[in-house]
Symmetry: C2
Subunit: 75 residues, 2 copies
C-alpha cells in the first residue's frame, strides 16, 4: 500500500486518539487549543485526520493531555 494512503489512515487514527484522550480529560477543543496556543480549527483538523503533524505538535499535545508521547501513537 502507498505511504500516502497509509498516511491518511494513520492521520485519522492519530486524530481519533487525540480526541479520545481530550474527552477523557474533560477538555473541549477550545480548551486544548488555548493550552497549546493553537486555533480551535487546528485541533479540529488534527482530530479529523487532516494534518500531517510534526513531532513538536505531538509533543505539545502530549504535554497538555498529560500523557507520554508514545501514548498518542497507541492505536
Amino acid at each position: 500500500m502507498s505511504i500516502d494512503r497509509d498516511l491518511i489512515k494513520i492521520q485519522k487514527a492519530f486524530g481519533e486518539r487525540v480526541r479520545e484522550l481530550r474527552v477523557k480529560k474533560g477538555l473541549s477543543q477550545f480548551d486544548l487549543a488555548s493550552h497549546c496556543n493553537y486555533e480551535k480549527s487546528t485541533i479540529s483538523r488534527i482530530e479529523n485526520g487532516r494534518t500531517n503533524i510534526t513531532l513538536k505538535t505531538a509533543l505539545n499535545l502530549s504535554s497538555k493531555l498529560e500523557v507520554k508521547l508514545k501514548d498518542l501513537f497507541e492505536f
Copy 2:
C-alpha cells in the same frame, strides 16, 4: 520546561531510537535512505536529532524498519 527545549531532547531520543532500530536490522544510513527515497544526509540529520519530523516521515521510517509507528516512540 519550554516546549522548544523539550523538543530538542525528544528529537535526540527519536534519532537514537531510529539508529538503534536501523543497526539492529543491519542497515546502513544509505540503505535506509534509499528505501525511504531520502538523501543519506536526511537520515543522518534525523538520527542526530536535528529534525522536527512529520508523521509521514515517521510512517515511512517505521515501514522500512518493519516496526509499528509507536515503537519509534519507545523511549
